[in-house]
Amino acid sequence: MMLGLNRKDASLLLIVAILVALAPIFLNPFPEQSGLAQFNAGYPDLMQRFVIFGIFAIGFNILFGLTGYLSFGHAAFLGAGSYAGVWMLKLLTINVIPAIIISTAVAGIFALIIGFISLRRSGIYFSILTLAFAQMSFALAASVLTPITGGETGLQTALDDPRILDGTNTTGNIPAPSIFGLQMGDSFQISVGGWLWTFNVGYYLSAIVMLSAFYLAIRIFRSPFGIMLRAIKSNQQRLNYTGLNTKPYMLACFVISGMYAGLAGGLMVSMDPLAGAERMQWTASGEVVLMTILGGVGTLIGPVLGAGLIKYFENIFSKINDNLLHKWFAFMPDGVEDFIVSIIYPFVGKGWHLTLGLIFMAVIIFLPGGLVELGQKVASIFKKKGSTPSNNPNTEPAE
């Protein structure tokens, strides 16, 4: 036993921790000057997104994976957390700690209200109710509440913000979010041979928060509370007939899940102090559903993998333009080159959604358990006969 985890969970946590700690190195597998450097993901902005959306997806999975309640409005909590975070950076201090704490709390309160109403229904009606609330929040943020949210322009820090805990700003520039003087954008770079590795303050702060969030999620999955949530998923009616009131459990679960989203929102604005209304739009809510399903619903590590894959596509594939394609295939004869480029082009750049859609379909059809199931299948090929591949509690989907 370690930190209250059994050995398998502890080793999973340890592996995730090592991967996260060394991400700047193995996400940059290609040397800087090589043509494949396009596929490197080890730069601060994307690494921060990986772990922050990982937190968002972990939180979503606590609700969807354990109880089977599909919330279609989780982006509202992410957005509420983001706005709360920016306001803290504007009013209180540029230190990100209060922003992160308050954004989690605000999202929690917001989730309590929405959850209290939405949880009166289950199944599709619950999904529709959460979707309706999220769209209302989006509409409010985008126009009605413009003085608070900045409307479509978004909410940003400004030079003349009060920031009552900080001294008077004499630099003539807006201070950058920092943690006790260390700026989120500060990086320490090491170049080895042709490789360049960037170790970024903001990334490691987000990574530490993500690991704590992951640890907490493991504890929830393994707790009596988690078992109760699984029971709700398998048969809520039967639980009710035994005289058990499931509502407090559901509400607690919904609020925890909302707070994870708020935490992710708070971290997002700590890395880049701007909150836009589109963060609350239904597409953003849908994205976290995709992440979770792509990675593996109800598994511990799945949502993090799904978040990573989607963000990788969004940031790397979307930037491949026709100019680059022509460069890659320049060795071919002209006609063939143009032909190949015209075939590939619809799937990269602006068309990255198309590729993602195809992958998503393939996963749903062939791997209903998501990337985690893929991992298990690959592992079982390498394993000797006799060991049972799917007996691993780390990756067992809730029924």
């Binding site: 080793s11 730069y43 322009t153 520039n173 320490f188 880049d272």
Partner: protein
């Protein structure tokens, strides 16, 4: 437990390899060797072109990207050189910038501040872009400009027309060549009062973000000063595509002019809606009902088709300018020629401003002798130039805004072809639209070289 394959032996082996790797490296913190962020080290320099490739401004974005690619060609000495032949500063010689070949990366802003910043950050952090340029939405421009200020990168705004970009949200590292809402109001109001009389009642439909607000304000202030009255001003979401519910109440509101503070796809849709509701044929208060579009572009005119005939608006530049208004606007034909030869049709005003911004940046680096943002800022502040299609122009030091002539245009009744959609009504000289940079508040701050 047999499950874990992570044995002590393999851990030690990995550790030894990692240790050996870590023993050699040269350690450098971002840009410490050069004094500014993303200092180009090799034989090339990377510019970041961040334009909307989806959303209501996607047409403008596509044209901007064409212009950027053309500018890069000309900077690298390919093609016919375009405006480099007419530009008053002769520092650029077709060998790239400071002898470094110009390369570029592109990104999609999606016309959303959030997405635009993510895209710009990846250009700065991953691709090492030394300058970010682009736009088509002021919301995006303001957001990306703030990001560049923080990161110590120069931002050359593309098409952004809100007062805020070089007004209350201006930044030392940001520059705008395009004109603004205030200048539109100042140029347009006298023409409107002249054609439509001074006792009109206006109804505004306004895109719900910073550009819409400042344009509405500017047009209101300048028309009200000439005797007009504003009946109502209604905000419409940027992502709106069906404007019928916004247009329906206009005719019974007592107004006799509809001002569409919309741009791009928004304007195409709202104008089409207004025409379908019969506003153009209608009578109100005993006068012909009129529609005004403060910021006009040829791409919008093309999208709206014959609905634009006779409608007034302003524009920053038009491809036929040198032919219709004379050699004061030299550079126009040179640019139109090389753009037309490459793409087969004339450029839009968005393409023009983006092309100019790229050349102006390159020229400022060349004159200042360094890619350092502070050197660029110094070279651009108070810079007077000519031969870029707008006549003599000043890059004002106080707010980093270009001061130049504004064109008042009108949709043609009988366009000769698909591109000849706007006719020039009046050129308002720069002096008539100049304003005090202090009126919008905001502070430039100091230039930030990053690192």
């Amino acid at each position: 437990m047999t499950k874990t394959k992570l044995t002590r032996r393999s851990v030690m082996q990995t550790g030894a390899v990692a240790g050996a790797g870590l023993a050699v490296p040269t350690i450098l913190t971002a840009g410490s060797h050069s004094g500014f962020a993303n200092a180009p080290t090799g034989s090339s320099v990377t510019l970041g072109f961040n334009v909307p490739q989806s959303g209501p401004y996607a047409d403008e974005g596509a044209d901007e990207l064409r212009a950027y690619k053309l500018a890069v060609e000309h900077l690298n000495g390919e093609g016919d050189g375009g405006m480099l032949q007419t530009f008053s500063s002769k520092a650029l010689d077709g060998t790239g910038i400071l002898g470094k070949k110009v390369e570029y990366v592109t990104g999609d802003t999606q016309t959303k501040p959030d997405a635009a910043r993510a895209s710009a950050r990846s250009m700065i952090e991953k691709d090492g872009a030394i300058m970010i340029t682009g736009g088509s939405s002021s919301g995006v421009a303001v957001a990306v400009q703030a990001l560049c200020q923080e990161a110590g990168i120069i931002f050359m705004a593309g098409l952004t027309h809100s007062n805020d970009t070089t007004g209350k949200d201006k930044k030392a590292n940001g520059f705008r060549h395009f004109f603004n809402s205030y200048m539109t109001g100042a140029a347009l109001a006298p023409v409107l009062a002249d054609r439509y009389g001074s006792d009109r009642k206006a109804y505004h439909l306004t895109a719900d973000y910073n550009w819409g607000y400042t344009t509405e304000e500017a047009v209101r202030n300048s028309t009200e000063a000439l005797g007009w009255e504003t009946v109502a001003a209604v905000k419409t979401p940027l992502s709106q595509t069906d404007f019928s519910s916004y247009v329906a109440p206009v005719l019974n509101s007592g107004a006799d002019v509809l001002v569409l503070n919309h741009y791009g796809g928004n304007m195409v849709n709202s104008l089409t809606s207004a025409v379908e509701f019969g506003l153009r044929a209608a009578q109100a208060n005993g006068k012909n009902f009129e529609i005004v579009v403060p910021l006009y572009s040829r791409l919008m005119a093309k999208g709206a088709g014959k609905n634009v005939a006779g409608i007034f608006g302003t524009t920053g530049w038009h491809w036929s300018l040198e032919n219709t208004a004379g050699s004061r606007y030299a550079g126009t034909n040179a640019f139109v020629k090389s753009f037309g030869e490459k793409y087969g049709f004339p450029p839009s005003q968005a393409a023009h401003t983006c092309y100019c911004q790229t050349l102006l940046y390159a020229d400022a680096v060349q004159r200042g002798g360094s890619f350092n943002p502070c050197s660029v800022v110094e070279a651009l502040e108070g810079f007077e130039f000519d031969g870029m299609g707008n006549g003599p122009t000043l890059y004002r030091a106080e707010d980093h805004q270009c001061i130049k002539d504004v064109l008042v245009v009108r949709g043609k009744e009988n366009p000769a072809n698909d591109f000849d959609l706007l006719e020039l009504v009046d050129v308002t000289p720069a002096e008539a639209v100049t304003f005090d940079p202090a009126i919008f508040g905001g502070e430039l701050g100091s230039c930030n070289p990053g690192a």
